[in-house]
Protein backbone atom coordinates (compact mmCIF):
# COMPACT_ATOMS: atom_id res chain seq x y z
CA UNK A 1 0.00 0.00 0.00
CA UNK A 2 1.48 3.37 -0.99
CA UNK A 3 1.27 6.42 1.28
CA UNK A 4 -1.52 8.07 -0.80
CA UNK A 5 -3.50 4.79 -0.79
CA UNK A 6 -3.05 4.48 2.96
CA UNK A 7 -4.15 8.08 3.55
CA UNK A 8 -7.15 7.58 1.27
CA UNK A 9 -8.07 4.39 3.16
CA UNK A 10 -7.79 6.08 6.56
CA UNK A 11 -9.99 8.92 5.32
CA UNK A 12 -12.58 6.31 4.22
CA UNK A 13 -12.29 4.70 7.67
CA UNK A 14 -11.37 1.46 5.92
CA UNK A 15 -10.37 -1.27 8.35
CA UNK A 16 -7.72 -2.69 6.01
CA UNK A 17 -6.04 0.70 6.00
CA UNK A 18 -6.17 0.86 9.81
CA UNK A 19 -4.64 -2.59 10.00
CA UNK A 20 -1.87 -1.66 7.57
CA UNK A 21 -1.19 1.57 9.46
CA UNK A 22 -0.86 -0.26 12.79
CA UNK A 23 1.26 -3.09 11.38
CA UNK A 24 3.56 -0.66 9.63
CA UNK A 25 4.03 1.89 12.40
CA UNK A 26 3.33 0.09 15.66
CA UNK A 27 6.99 -0.68 16.37
CA UNK A 28 8.54 2.74 15.66
CA UNK A 29 5.71 4.51 17.49
CA UNK A 30 6.05 2.40 20.64
CA UNK A 31 9.84 2.33 20.60
CA UNK A 32 10.02 6.10 20.23
CA UNK A 33 7.39 6.77 22.89
CA UNK A 34 9.16 4.38 25.25
CA UNK A 35 12.12 6.76 25.82
CA UNK A 36 9.87 9.67 26.71
CA UNK A 37 7.38 7.94 28.97
CA UNK A 38 9.97 5.71 30.64
CA UNK A 39 8.66 2.19 30.05
CA UNK A 40 7.52 -0.09 27.25
CA UNK A 41 4.20 -0.73 29.05
CA UNK A 42 3.33 2.97 29.24
CA UNK A 43 4.42 3.39 25.63
CA UNK A 44 2.14 0.53 24.55
CA UNK A 45 -0.80 2.21 26.28
CA UNK A 46 0.08 5.59 24.83
CA UNK A 47 0.40 4.12 21.34
CA UNK A 48 -3.40 3.59 21.28
CA UNK A 49 -3.90 7.34 21.77
CA UNK A 50 -1.26 8.10 19.16
CA UNK A 51 -2.96 5.95 16.50
CA UNK A 52 -6.36 7.45 17.29
CA UNK A 53 -4.82 10.91 16.91
CA UNK A 54 -3.25 9.91 13.56
CA UNK A 55 -6.61 8.71 12.25
CA UNK A 56 -8.56 11.69 13.59
CA UNK A 57 -6.15 14.27 12.23
CA UNK A 58 -5.29 12.64 8.90
CA UNK A 59 -7.29 15.49 7.29
CA UNK A 60 -4.62 17.92 8.41
CA UNK A 61 -1.75 15.94 6.84
CA UNK A 62 -0.06 18.09 4.21
CA UNK A 63 2.00 16.51 1.50
CA UNK A 64 5.01 18.73 2.20
CA UNK A 65 6.51 15.96 4.36
CA UNK A 66 6.36 12.18 4.19
CA UNK A 67 3.64 10.35 6.10
CA UNK A 68 6.28 8.71 8.28
CA UNK A 69 7.77 12.10 9.25
CA UNK A 70 4.30 13.35 10.16
CA UNK A 71 3.60 10.21 12.24
CA UNK A 72 6.91 10.64 14.08
CA UNK A 73 5.99 14.25 14.89
CA UNK A 74 2.64 13.21 16.34
CA UNK A 75 4.35 10.43 18.30
CA UNK A 76 6.95 12.79 19.75
CA UNK A 77 4.41 15.49 20.63
CA UNK A 78 2.09 13.04 22.35
CA UNK A 79 5.00 11.38 24.16
CA UNK A 80 6.45 14.70 25.33
CA UNK A 81 3.04 15.78 26.64
CA UNK A 82 2.77 12.54 28.58
CA UNK A 83 6.35 12.91 29.87
CA UNK A 84 5.65 16.47 31.04
CA UNK A 85 2.53 15.26 32.86
CA UNK A 86 4.58 12.51 34.51
CA UNK A 87 7.21 15.07 35.46
CA UNK A 88 4.62 17.38 37.04
CA UNK A 89 3.22 14.39 38.90
CA UNK A 90 6.77 13.50 40.02
CA UNK A 91 7.34 17.06 41.27
CA UNK A 92 4.05 16.88 43.20
CA UNK A 93 5.15 13.61 44.79
CA UNK A 94 8.47 15.16 45.78
CA UNK A 95 6.77 18.23 47.23
CA UNK A 96 4.46 15.94 49.19
CA UNK A 97 7.40 13.89 50.44
CA UNK A 98 9.14 17.12 51.54
CA UNK A 99 6.16 17.84 53.75
CA UNK A 100 6.22 14.28 55.05
CA UNK A 101 3.07 13.00 53.33
CA UNK A 102 4.92 10.32 51.47
CA UNK A 103 7.90 8.37 52.52
CA UNK A 104 10.55 6.59 50.53
CA UNK A 105 10.10 8.43 47.23
CA UNK A 106 13.43 8.35 45.49
CA UNK A 107 14.51 11.73 44.27
CA UNK A 108 16.36 12.32 41.02
CA UNK A 109 18.87 9.90 39.65
CA UNK A 110 19.11 6.54 41.37
CA UNK A 111 22.61 5.74 40.14
CA UNK A 112 25.29 5.91 42.79
CA UNK A 113 28.53 7.24 41.32
CA UNK A 114 30.43 4.43 43.00
CA UNK A 115 28.35 1.71 41.28
CA UNK A 116 30.17 -0.02 38.46
CA UNK A 117 27.85 -0.48 35.48
CA UNK A 118 29.26 -3.90 34.66
CA UNK A 119 28.16 -5.18 38.09
CA UNK A 120 24.49 -4.42 37.42
CA UNK A 121 22.05 -6.92 35.92
CA UNK A 122 20.23 -6.26 32.64
CA UNK A 123 17.08 -4.98 34.32
CA UNK A 124 18.99 -2.49 36.46
CA UNK A 125 21.00 -1.36 33.47
CA UNK A 126 17.85 -0.75 31.45
CA UNK A 127 16.33 1.26 34.27
CA UNK A 128 19.45 3.38 34.53
CA UNK A 129 19.61 3.94 30.81
CA UNK A 130 15.97 5.06 30.74
CA UNK A 131 16.62 7.42 33.64
CA UNK A 132 19.66 8.84 31.93
CA UNK A 133 17.78 9.34 28.65
CA UNK A 134 14.97 10.96 30.62
CA UNK A 135 17.45 13.50 32.00
CA UNK A 136 18.55 14.66 28.57
CA UNK A 137 17.20 18.03 27.39
CA UNK A 138 14.15 17.43 25.13
CA UNK A 139 15.85 18.23 21.83
CA UNK A 140 18.85 16.05 22.59
CA UNK A 141 16.53 13.25 23.64
CA UNK A 142 14.44 13.42 20.46
CA UNK A 143 17.48 13.42 18.17
CA UNK A 144 19.24 10.69 20.11
CA UNK A 145 16.22 8.37 20.34
CA UNK A 146 15.40 8.72 16.65
CA UNK A 147 19.01 8.06 15.72
CA UNK A 148 19.94 5.25 18.10
CA UNK A 149 16.69 3.39 18.62
CA UNK A 150 14.76 4.07 15.42
CA UNK A 151 17.67 4.05 12.97
CA UNK A 152 16.55 7.32 11.39
CA UNK A 153 19.15 9.05 9.24
CA UNK A 154 20.38 12.54 10.19
CA UNK A 155 18.42 13.86 7.21
CA UNK A 156 15.18 12.23 8.40
CA UNK A 157 15.78 13.53 11.93
CA UNK A 158 16.40 17.03 10.55
CA UNK A 159 13.08 16.80 8.72
CA UNK A 160 11.15 15.48 11.72
CA UNK A 161 12.62 18.12 14.04
CA UNK A 162 12.55 20.88 11.41
CA UNK A 163 16.22 21.79 12.04
CA UNK A 164 19.45 21.69 10.00
CA UNK A 165 21.81 18.75 9.66
CA UNK A 166 24.67 20.31 11.71
CA UNK A 167 22.21 20.93 14.54
CA UNK A 168 21.18 17.25 14.45
CA UNK A 169 24.78 16.15 14.53
CA UNK A 170 25.54 18.44 17.46
CA UNK A 171 22.45 17.34 19.41
CA UNK A 172 23.31 13.66 19.01
CA UNK A 173 26.93 14.21 20.03
CA UNK A 174 25.97 16.21 23.13
CA UNK A 175 23.31 13.65 24.03
CA UNK A 176 25.82 10.81 23.84
CA UNK A 177 28.31 12.79 25.91
CA UNK A 178 25.70 13.60 28.56
CA UNK A 179 24.56 9.97 28.71
CA UNK A 180 28.12 8.89 29.31
CA UNK A 181 28.47 11.48 32.09
CA UNK A 182 25.25 10.41 33.76
CA UNK A 183 26.05 6.72 33.56
CA UNK A 184 29.76 6.87 34.33
CA UNK A 185 30.23 10.01 36.41
CA UNK A 186 33.99 9.50 36.35
CA UNK A 187 33.78 10.35 32.63
CA UNK A 188 33.51 14.09 33.45
CA UNK A 189 36.75 13.87 35.40
CA UNK A 190 38.50 12.10 32.53
CA UNK A 191 37.36 14.73 30.09
CA UNK A 192 38.76 17.60 32.12
CA UNK A 193 41.93 15.85 33.24
Amino acid sequence: MTDPELIEGILRRDRNAFQYLVNQYQKPVIKTACYFVGSMEDAEDLSQEIFLEIIRSINSFKNNSSLSTWIYRITINKSLNMARKQQRHGIMLRVESLFGHRQGQKEGFSHEPSTCLSDLDEKEKRKLLHEAIGRLPENQRIAFVLCKFDDQSYKQIAEIMKIGLPAVESLIHRARLNLQKYLTPQFSEYKTS
Partner: protein, 149 residues
Amino acid sequence: MDCKHFRNNIFAYQEGLLSAEDLRLAENHLLSCKACEKILADVRVVDEMIHVEKTLEPAPFTSTRILQRIDNEFSETRKPPVITLVRILQPVTLALALVCGILIGSYTARKDSPPAKQASNSTEKLEFLRANLFITDFADEDKNPVTNK
Protein backbone atom coordinates in the same frame (compact mmCIF):
# COMPACT_ATOMS: atom_id res chain seq x y z
CA MET B 1 47.75 11.48 19.50
CA ASP B 2 47.60 12.72 23.12
CA CYS B 3 44.96 11.94 25.77
CA LYS B 4 42.96 15.11 25.09
CA HIS B 5 42.77 14.40 21.37
CA PHE B 6 41.81 10.77 21.93
CA ARG B 7 39.10 11.64 24.46
CA ASN B 8 37.60 14.28 22.19
CA ASN B 9 37.26 11.67 19.47
CA ILE B 10 36.34 8.71 21.61
CA PHE B 11 32.75 8.35 20.26
CA ALA B 12 33.92 8.65 16.69
CA TYR B 13 36.55 5.99 17.46
CA GLN B 14 33.97 3.67 19.05
CA GLU B 15 31.56 4.12 16.14
CA GLY B 16 34.28 3.55 13.55
CA LEU B 17 33.97 7.05 12.12
CA LEU B 18 37.66 8.02 12.30
CA SER B 19 39.78 8.38 9.18
CA ALA B 20 42.34 5.63 8.59
CA GLU B 21 45.16 7.89 9.78
CA ASP B 22 43.33 9.01 12.95
CA LEU B 23 42.37 5.41 13.66
CA ARG B 24 46.02 4.32 13.50
CA LEU B 25 47.04 7.17 15.83
CA ALA B 26 44.22 6.38 18.26
CA GLU B 27 45.17 2.70 18.41
CA ASN B 28 48.79 3.58 19.01
CA HIS B 29 47.73 5.86 21.85
CA LEU B 30 45.58 3.13 23.40
CA LEU B 31 48.53 0.73 23.45
CA SER B 32 50.45 3.05 25.74
CA CYS B 33 47.70 4.73 27.83
CA LYS B 34 45.87 2.75 30.52
CA ALA B 35 43.68 5.74 31.50
CA CYS B 36 42.21 6.15 28.00
CA GLU B 37 41.76 2.40 27.75
CA LYS B 38 39.66 2.55 30.93
CA ILE B 39 37.51 5.39 29.54
CA LEU B 40 36.99 3.48 26.32
CA ALA B 41 35.79 0.48 28.35
CA ASP B 42 33.17 2.74 29.99
CA VAL B 43 32.05 4.04 26.61
CA ARG B 44 31.71 0.47 25.38
CA VAL B 45 29.58 -0.52 28.37
CA VAL B 46 27.12 2.29 27.61
CA ASP B 47 27.12 1.41 23.91
CA GLU B 48 26.35 -2.18 24.84
CA MET B 49 23.45 -0.98 27.01
CA ILE B 50 22.07 0.99 24.07
CA HIS B 51 22.51 -2.01 21.80
CA VAL B 52 20.65 -4.36 24.19
CA GLU B 53 17.89 -1.80 24.66
CA LYS B 54 17.49 -1.48 20.91
CA THR B 55 16.69 -5.17 20.46
CA LEU B 56 13.66 -5.00 22.77
CA GLU B 57 10.28 -5.36 21.10
CA PRO B 58 6.77 -4.36 22.13
CA ALA B 59 4.71 -7.11 23.78
CA PRO B 60 2.93 -9.52 21.43
CA PHE B 61 -0.72 -8.71 20.67
CA THR B 62 -0.08 -4.99 21.16
CA SER B 63 -1.22 -4.38 17.59
CA THR B 64 -4.40 -6.37 18.27
CA ARG B 65 -5.11 -4.15 21.27
CA ILE B 66 -4.50 -1.01 19.25
CA LEU B 67 -6.83 -2.25 16.49
CA GLN B 68 -9.52 -3.13 19.01
CA ARG B 69 -9.33 0.40 20.38
CA ILE B 70 -9.56 1.81 16.85
CA ASP B 71 -12.57 -0.46 16.16
CA ASN B 72 -14.29 0.77 19.31
CA GLU B 73 -13.65 4.38 18.41
CA PHE B 74 -14.56 4.20 14.73
CA SER B 75 -16.95 1.20 14.63
CA GLU B 76 -20.09 3.15 13.66
CA THR B 77 -18.48 4.99 10.79
CA ARG B 78 -16.59 2.12 9.30
CA LYS B 79 -18.97 -0.91 9.35
CA PRO B 80 -20.37 -1.78 5.91
CA PRO B 81 -24.20 -2.37 5.77
CA VAL B 82 -23.79 -6.14 5.20
CA ILE B 83 -22.08 -6.55 8.57
CA THR B 84 -24.78 -4.44 10.27
CA LEU B 85 -27.50 -6.62 8.66
CA VAL B 86 -25.79 -9.81 9.80
CA ARG B 87 -25.56 -8.38 13.32
CA ILE B 88 -29.33 -7.76 13.35
CA LEU B 89 -30.31 -11.04 11.69
CA GLN B 90 -28.19 -13.23 13.94
CA PRO B 91 -30.15 -12.69 17.20
CA VAL B 92 -33.50 -12.71 15.36
CA THR B 93 -32.74 -16.11 13.79
CA LEU B 94 -31.60 -17.42 17.15
CA ALA B 95 -34.81 -16.26 18.84
CA LEU B 96 -36.95 -17.85 16.11
CA ALA B 97 -35.09 -21.14 16.41
CA LEU B 98 -35.63 -21.09 20.17
CA VAL B 99 -39.41 -20.49 19.83
CA CYS B 100 -39.71 -23.29 17.23
CA GLY B 101 -37.80 -25.62 19.56
CA ILE B 102 -40.16 -24.89 22.46
CA LEU B 103 -43.28 -25.41 20.27
CA ILE B 104 -42.07 -28.70 18.85
CA GLY B 105 -41.01 -29.85 22.32
CA SER B 106 -44.38 -29.11 23.92
CA TYR B 107 -46.28 -30.68 20.98
CA THR B 108 -44.28 -33.89 21.31
CA ALA B 109 -44.87 -33.97 25.08
CA ARG B 110 -48.66 -33.65 24.61
CA LYS B 111 -48.70 -36.35 21.95
CA ASP B 112 -46.97 -38.76 24.30
CA SER B 113 -49.26 -38.15 27.32
CA PRO B 114 -52.31 -40.63 27.48
CA PRO B 115 -55.17 -38.08 28.16
CA ALA B 116 -54.55 -36.38 24.90
CA LYS B 117 -55.72 -39.42 22.96
CA GLN B 118 -58.87 -39.87 25.09
CA ALA B 119 -60.18 -36.33 25.22
CA SER B 120 -63.47 -36.81 23.37
CA ASN B 121 -66.13 -34.95 25.45
CA SER B 122 -66.01 -31.74 27.47
CA THR B 123 -65.41 -33.40 30.89
CA GLU B 124 -62.58 -35.40 29.50
CA LYS B 125 -61.24 -32.27 27.90
CA LEU B 126 -61.26 -30.56 31.29
CA GLU B 127 -59.44 -33.49 32.87
CA PHE B 128 -56.98 -33.32 30.08
CA LEU B 129 -56.43 -29.61 30.68
CA ARG B 130 -56.05 -30.18 34.42
CA ALA B 131 -53.52 -32.91 33.87
CA ASN B 132 -51.57 -30.94 31.34
CA LEU B 133 -51.76 -27.46 32.79
CA PHE B 134 -51.47 -28.49 36.47
CA ILE B 135 -54.69 -26.61 37.37
CA THR B 136 -56.34 -28.24 40.42
CA ASP B 137 -58.92 -25.71 41.58
CA PHE B 138 -61.59 -25.29 38.90
CA ALA B 139 -64.95 -23.71 39.77
CA ASP B 140 -67.95 -26.08 40.25
CA GLU B 141 -69.67 -24.88 37.15
CA ASP B 142 -66.62 -25.92 35.22
CA LYS B 143 -66.78 -29.40 36.80
CA ASN B 144 -70.49 -29.73 35.79
CA PRO B 145 -70.94 -27.56 32.78
CA VAL B 146 -74.45 -26.16 32.34
CA THR B 147 -75.73 -27.26 29.02
CA ASN B 148 -79.01 -25.40 28.93
CA LYS B 149 -77.63 -21.88 28.93
